[in-house]
Structure formats: structure tokens, C-alpha cells
């Protein structure tokens, strides 16, 4: 059996560029080379597409000018179906363009199968305001929120400030689009509001304001699959750097031998009950369906462990490191996860091609 020509796409014009490079290279490193011929496709910080063997080495990215990389071959994706030497693509982008549906649209045009989700799902999941509206329409529990545009803020700020006051302080001000925490601000007093809003408007013209949820811990679950065949991972609790004493702080004092072992940035499984875990996994799968996603996604939640109340934060359609660590903890090796993503990509395209998209007759003939 011939090998599958697998393109791995990463980089892009986004603040999460470097994180995407790590996700892409991790995936390449773990792919089964007996099954795949891998082509790395790198989008630099200026939006130019490149390929080349140098991209397989993380050291290249440590020294290269990521706005104008050298030593690479320019890559042009042909929008005509069947004109690219690619059987399957796996998108490892995080943030704007790559995660928001733009590249997905390009691959759809070129007829290249990819893990998904498709254009609409990627776009709506990337937009925090539309995500909130969909959750509301579906009756899913979430933080109270309000939203507005730059134009509304400039013309009539008073009703916006009133709505924010109704949420109760503190609140989080977030740009509608953006996959990372860049641009997100927490404010505790009304006096801070106008200046903060002006600052956040530098990142987006549409702004989301969310009420704070208390007595909660953050817990994330990954969901993998396509159509009816989906599964949810064990949950993780991300640990912020300032919330724990590092391994080195506690166990490498007094000049003793250093281990190079670092503190974990997450707890797997999260410290919650099995009943709450099941509830979270069921809800994660439901959201996977509601947002019409596919491939591997991660959904972030806040949970109140005492009351077993769950609040949805947001879905991430291309999660950092493809959430492989959650799947390993669930019993799926990274190489197997990649195999699943390739199979999902192929199945998605096959299912799509079964659909009627044009008619034999040409109605223009009768004009």
C-alpha cells in the first residue's frame, strides 16, 4: 500500500504563531512514517506559504526571521481540485485565519480532505459573541454576558455601561475574535470601564463583556470524531504558573542535583468526581454536535465541584498540541490520534462527495 501524502499546516498570521509551530512539529514527530509521506507547510508571520526539510527541525525556528524566512521553498496551493500533491491535510493552526475558517475554505475549494471542522463551524466557534449566542439559543449554561460594537460604543456608550452594570463587577472585557488571552482584561471598578474598553477595541471592533463566575475551577475536555462516532477524553485542570510551587522550588533546594523535571502545567485527570466527569463528557459531546465540529477539539469549562454546576467557556476547534496529552491519558497514543484524524479527514470528504451539489441539466441552455 502506498503511503498517504500528508500535509501538516502550521504557523500563520496570528499571535499564536509559535504555539502553532510547536503543535505542527509535535504532530510530525509522532506521525507513523510507515504510513505517511509528510510535507510540512509553514505560513510565516507575513502570510507567505513555505515548505522544505528545514521546517522539520525546531532549531530552524529558533534562529530564523519568521517574517522573512530563508532556505525554504515557496508553496502555492492550487485551488483547482486534484492539482495538489496532497492526499490529506492536518491543520495545526491556532488563532486568526488558520482556525477561523479561512484556510478551511481554501482546502474545501482545492478538494483536499482535512480533519475539520468545516468553514462555518470554525468561524462561529472562533467568534466569542456568536458562540455565546448559540449557547444561549441551545439553553446551555454559561456566564452572563453582553456585547457591543465599536460604532455603538462611540455613539451611545450609556446603555452599554448600564448593561455592564447589570452584570455586576468584576467583568471580563474580551475582543470577539482571538484564540488566546491577548486583549482580555478583567476590571473591578466602573471607573476603569471606558479606558479598558478603548484598549480592547484595538484588537476587535466587536467586544464581549462577561460576568465573573465564582467558586469554580477551570476544566477542559477534548472531543474526537466525526458524525455519530465521537468520544470525549478525561478532563484536565490547567494550572496557572502562579498557582503552584514549582517542582524545582520544592525539591531542588539547597544546591542538590538538578533533575530538569518541571512542574506539570495541568492536572490529568482533573480533581473532580466521576459523576461530574461524566456530566462534562456528555455536555462536551453535545457541544461537539451543536457546533457541528469534527476532528479533535477541546472545550473549556468552568465547574463548581460542590454544586456540580457547569459553565461553558468556549470550544477550541484546533487545540494546542492537538490535546494529545488528554488522549494519551484516555488510552490513545499520539500516533493513533493522528491516524484517527487522517481517517476523519478522508471520511468527511467522502461523506461530502455523496451529497448533491450540481445538476446534470444546464438551465442556461433554455434561455
Amino acid at each position: 500500500m502506498s503511503k498517504i501524502r500528508l500535509a501538516v499546516l502550521f504557523g500563520g498570521i496570528t499571535v499564536e504563531h509559535e504555539v502553532s509551530v510547536i503543535t505542527g512539529l509535535q504532530l510530525i514527530k509522532n506521525a507513523d512514517l510507515n504510513r505517511y509521506d509528510i510535507t510540512p507547510l509553514y505560513v510565516d508571520k507575513n502570510g507567505q506559504w513555505w515548505t522544505g526539510a528545514a521546517l522539520l527541525d525546531v532549531d530552524y525556528f529558533k534562529t530564523a526571521d519568521l517574517f522573512n524566512p530563508t532556505g525554504l521553498t515557496s508553496f502555492i496551493l492550487n485551488p483547482n481540485k486534484g492539482q495538489n500533491q496532497i492526499d490529506v491535510a492536518i491543520l495545526c493552526f491556532h488563532g486568526a485565519y488558520g482556525e477561523a475558517g479561512n484556510v478551511q475554505g481554501l482546502l474545501e475549494l482545492a478538494g483536499i480532505p482535512y480533519q475539520g471542522p468545516a468553514v462555518t463551524s470554525s468561524a462561529i466557534s472562533f467568534d466569542k459573541i456568536i458562540t455565546r449566542q448559540i449557547l444561549k439559543a441551545e439553553g446551555i449554561n454559561q456566564a452572563a454576558y453582553t456585547w457591543f460594537t465599536e460604532h455603538e460604543w462611540q455613539s451611545t456608550p450609556a446603555p452599554i455601561l448600564e448593561k455592564i452594570a447589570e452584570l455586576g463587577l468584576p467583568v471580563f472585557i474580551k475582543p470577539a475574535n482571538g484564540g488566546s488571552t491577548v486583549g482580555i482584561e478583567k476590571i473591578k471598578t466602573a471607573a476603569e470601564l471606558p479606558a479598558t474598553i478603548e484598549r480592547v477595541l484595538a484588537y476587535d471592533q466587536r467586544i464581549l463583556v462577561e460576568a465573573e463566575i465564582t467558586n469554580c475551577i477551570e476544566v477542559n475536555v477534548s472531543v474526537l470524531g466525526w458524525a455519530g462516532n465521537i468520544s470525549a477524553s478525561v478532563p484536565e485542570q490547567p494550572i496557572k504558573a502562579d498557582e503552584f510551587l514549582s517542582y524545582a522550588d520544592k525539591y531542588e533546594r539547597g544546591g542538590s542535583k538538578k533533575t530538569g523535571m518541571a512542574s506539570a502545567s495541568r492536572r490529568i485527570p482533573a480533581p473532580i468526581s466521576s459523576s461530574l466527569t461524566t456530566k462534562l463528557q456528555d455536555l462536551a459531546k453535545k457541544l461537539f454536535h451543536i457546533f457541528d465540529t469534527s476532528g479533535v477539539i477541546r472545550i473549556d469549562f468552568f465547574v463548581d465541584p460542590s454544586e456540580e454546576t457547569i459553565y461553558v467557556i468556549e470550544p477550541n476547534t484546533i487545540p494546542g498540541s492537538m490535546s494529545f496529552y488528554l488522549w494519551e491519558a484516555t488510552g490513545l497514543k499520539y500516533s493513533e490520534l493522528i491516524d484517527r484524524l487522517v481517517a476523519i479527514a478522508q471520511q468527511r470528504l467522502a461523506d461530502k462527495e455523496k451529497l448533491t451539489t450540481s445538476f446534470e441539466s444546464n438551465i442556461l441552455k433554455n434561455q
Binding site: 517542582y247 520544592k250 542535583k257 506539570a264 473532580i272 459523576s275 461530574l276 465541584p305
Partner: protein, 439 residues
């Protein structure tokens, strides 16, 4: 040896000058820097007075300062006791209730669990850290007890015969919790029988109202003639946990209560069924005080980890460190070893000193411990102690190999030598050995 280190050891030897001097002699050529766990008033006073004797060698200056504090300490004690008792009496008239916790081990865990689980409905003060002497308790009453406190939880320590009964008379607890009696403090009290007698006096204090005391089921043999309320894992216990299930998320278990037909399923982030058992006094006390059990149940779910009592550190590559270094004994270590295996490690590393204050059975107990370790760990880091060879002999006699053991002067040194053996998924248990006095 610098002065702070000497003072640290003086405190750790519980101001027993013989033990203190023996330690200093054994470590005279070493450059150790130790800090006291707590700069108590007594330690500060000795520190201050020792400065006045700057012309004397450090050890002599500390010794002189120690003797000088004795009359002052006596007066301070009497004054502190009187003031504390007066204050406590006034607050009790305004509704303050007092809960005492005694036992050989699990006192601090039980105390901290009580503090967290009942703080939703009570304004609680617990004696901080391991303060458990009469002077320490008196100082807490004087400095920290406020008029709006509704519950005062006091840990009782047993260092001398009669300590427990004296403490009980001093604070006059409304309720008592007796955690497991075990092989701890044998040297100070003179033997296991003395430990049992000492802790028996705790229950004796409640003789006229035995329903106000809750006793760990392991202590049942010592109270065969009394009708007591027990807690634990056995079905004979009125307050019981069943179906414990331990994972890296925490511990799931069911709660069985007297006069409640259905058991409740619970989750606690703390590791181990022994910690699940330690939540039972909270439910018992809630019932005694007519507080809602549902409130306790909700707070069990968010229990914070307890310092150096199987306190976890999560490292990369699924490596988990469980720090149970505060203290251990031949009885409590069983729970640690069980927990270690329940967490399904790819490899088990144990860093241990063995057990302190084991009295005449020191050699026998450690030989047996060494034999146990063979099937419980792939590698052992021994912190050097007078009984280290007994552990090694036991380990080798049970089929262990010498290259599975490393020895260091301190916990850090022993651990440093084990680090090459860590693989992804390893669980590392620090079992005892926190206090340098025994090293």
C-alpha cells in the same frame, strides 16, 4: 554549626537538652543550615538571651539562655493559662463550642478537614500548624480567639504522662474526637501501653456523656467495656465509609451514617481512603451540632491538600510526588503504601527515614519495615538514621537487592540519588523524615 540551626534542633528535640546535645555532637563537623518550623515565643526568648552571652561558644550560650528562661517560662505559663481560661469561659457563655482532637496520628488532617467542611456554617478557629501543648493552646486562645468565633477546634498533643487530661481540663471540650492510637511518641511516654493509657484518659474525660466523643475504630480494643461511637471502614462502625476508590483525581467513597438508610456517594480531592475516613468526624460533628450534612458534603468536594500529609506535587510526564514527610509510624505507613499502589505508578520510589521514637522495638520494627518495602517499591532512598541498617537488613532478607537502595544524610540528598530512576508515570513517596533531629 550556626545558631539558628542549633535552635532549630533544640526545638525539634522538644527542649530535651540531652537529645539536643547528642545531635550536635553527631553533626559537629557538618555545615547544615536549618530553619525552625515555627519561631515560637520560647525560641525567640532563648535566641534573644543567647545574644547576651556572645563571649561564650554558641552551644553554651544557648544552654545558659535556656536555663534562664525556665523561671520566666513558668510565670508566663501560669499567667497565660489563667487568662486563656477566663477568656474561654466568657466566650463559652456566649455560645462558643470547643472540640478536642487527640490520637497518635491523623490529628492535623482531621482538624484541617473540620475547619474546611464546617466553615460554611461556623466561624471556626483551629489551633494552627501542630500547636498542641497547653502553652501553645493558651497563646492561641489569647491571641487568636475572637468573640464571633462559634467553634474552637483544639489539637491535643501527648508529650508527658497526664498531658491529655490536663489539656482536657484546661479547655473543657464539648466534643471529642480520638484518632488512631499507634506506635508514636513511644520514647517520650515510655512505651506503647503508656501511649494507650494516655489516650484512654481522653475518653475518660467524657465518661459522663460518652455520646459526645467519637473514636476511630482501630482503638476499639482499648475500650472494650465502653459503649462508644466509632468511625472507620468496618461495618461495625456507626460512621463508616464504604466502596473507596482512589485515582489520580482523588478519592470516591460512600458515606454510611447511623439512622440513615441510604449511603451517600462522595468525592474528595485528597488522596487515599484514610483521608476519606478523616472526613467522618466532620459529618458526626455536624449531626451533633444540628448542622446540615449536605453543607459538609459539598465542602468535602473542595478540600484543600494538607501540608506534608500526602500532599501532591504534579510534575511533568505524569510523575507524581506525594509528600507525607511530616511524620510516619509503623501503623500509619500501611495507608501510605496502599495509596502508593492505588495510584497505579509505572515505578515506585520511596524516600524514608523509617520511624522515630520506636523505643525498645526499634530494630525489630525497622527490620520488618525493610521486608515490607521489597514488594512496595522499586527503589528506596534512605535518610541516614541509627536504624538504617535494620531496614536494609530486612530489605535484603526479603529478596531485595542492595542496588535498589541509596542512602543520603538528608531527604534532599537521598532523593537526589534517586532522580536517575524516575521514568514517566513514577510516583515518589516521601514518608516521614521531615524533621532533621533524627537524621
Amino acid at each position: 554549626m550556626n545558631k539558628t540551626t542549633s535552635l532549630t534542633i533544640l526545638q525539634q528535640s522538644e527542649y530535651d537538652l540531652t537529645r539536643w546535645q547528642a545531635w550536635l555532637k553527631a553533626h559537629q563537623n557538618e555545615e547544615l543550615t536549618l530553619e525552625p518550623a515555627d519561631w515560637t515565643l520560647k525560641l525567640k526568648l532563648i535566641h534573644f538571651l543567647s545574644h547576651c552571652f556572645f563571649f561564650l561558644p554558641v552551644t553554651t550560650a544557648i544552654k545558659v539562655a535556656f536555663y534562664l528562661t525556665q523561671p520566666a517560662e513558668f510565670l508566663i505559663r501560669q499567667r497565660a493559662y489563667a487568662r486563656a481560661q477566663k477568656k474561654l469561659k466568657t466566650y463559652r457563655q456566649n455560645g462558643l463550642q470547643v472540640v478536642a482532637i487527640a490520637g497518635s496520628y491523623a490529628k492535623t488532617s482531621t482538624k484541617q478537614i473540620l475547619e474546611h467542611t464546617l466553615s460554611g456554617s461556623q466561624k471556626i478557629l483551629v489551633t494552627p500548624k501542630s500547636i498542641n501543648t497547653m502553652l501553645g493552646v493558651a497563646q492561641v486562645i489569647e491571641q487568636e480567639l475572637k468573640p464571633d468565633h462559634t467553634l474552637f477546634v483544639v489539637e491535643f498533643g501527648e508529650y508527658h504522662p497526664g498531658d491529655i487530661y490536663r489539656l482536657a481540663n484546661f479547655v473543657q471540650p464539648d466534643y471529642g474526637i480520638l484518632t488512631p492510637i499507634g506506635h508514636q511518641h513511644l520514647e517520650i511516654l515510655g512505651g506503647f501501653e503508656q501511649v494507650v493509657n494516655e489516650l484512654r484518659s481522653f475518653v475518660t474525660f467524657f465518661a459522663s456523656h460518652l455520646t459526645r466523643v467519637l473514636v476511630h475504630e482501630g482503638n476499639r480494643p482499648y475500650f472494650s467495656k465502653l459503649e462508644l461511637t466509632y468511625y472507620g471502614e468496618k461495618k461495625e462502625s456507626q460512621w463508616q465509609i464504604t466502596d473507596p476508590s482512589v485515582s489520580r483525581a482523588g478519592t470516591e467513597f460512600s458515606l454510611v451514617q447511623p439512622q440513615v438508610s441510604e449511603s451517600k456517594k462522595l468525592f474528595s480531592p485528597l488522596f487515599g481512603e484514610h483521608q476519606a475516613v478523616n472526613t467522618l468526624p466532620s459529618f458526626w460533628l455536624a449531626e451533633k451540632m444540628s448542622l446540615p450534612a449536605a453543607e459538609v458534603q459539598k465542602r468535602v468536594v473542595t478540600l484543600p491538600y494538607i501540608h506534608r500529609r500526602h500532599e501532591p506535587t504534579f510534575a511533568q510526564n505524569d510523575v507524581l510526588i506525594l509528600d507525607n514527610s511530616y511524620n510516619t509510624n509503623a501503623d500509619s505507613v500501611q495507608a501510605s503504601l496502599k495509596l502508593l499502589n492505588q495510584l497505579k505508578p509505572t515505578r515506585r520510589l520511596i524516600v524514608t527515614l523509617g520511624f522515630t521514637e520506636t523505643g525498645v522495638d526499634e530494630q525489630k520494627i525497622h527490620y520488618a519495615f525493610g521486608r515490607t518495602l521489597v514488594n512496595q517499591s522499586e527503589f528506596v532512598g534512605m535518610i541516614k538514621a541509627p536504624w538504617t541498617q535494620s531496614i536494609i537488613d530486612g530489605f535484603l532478607s526479603a529478596g531485595g537487592k542492595r542496588d535498589q537502595i541509596v542512602i543520603g544524610k538528608t531527604q534532599e540528598e537521598a532523593f537526589a540519588q534517586l532522580q536517575g530512576f524516575i521514568i514517566p508515570g513514577t510516583v515518589i513517596l516521601f514518608e516521614g523524615g521531615y524533621q532533621e533531629i533524627y537524621v
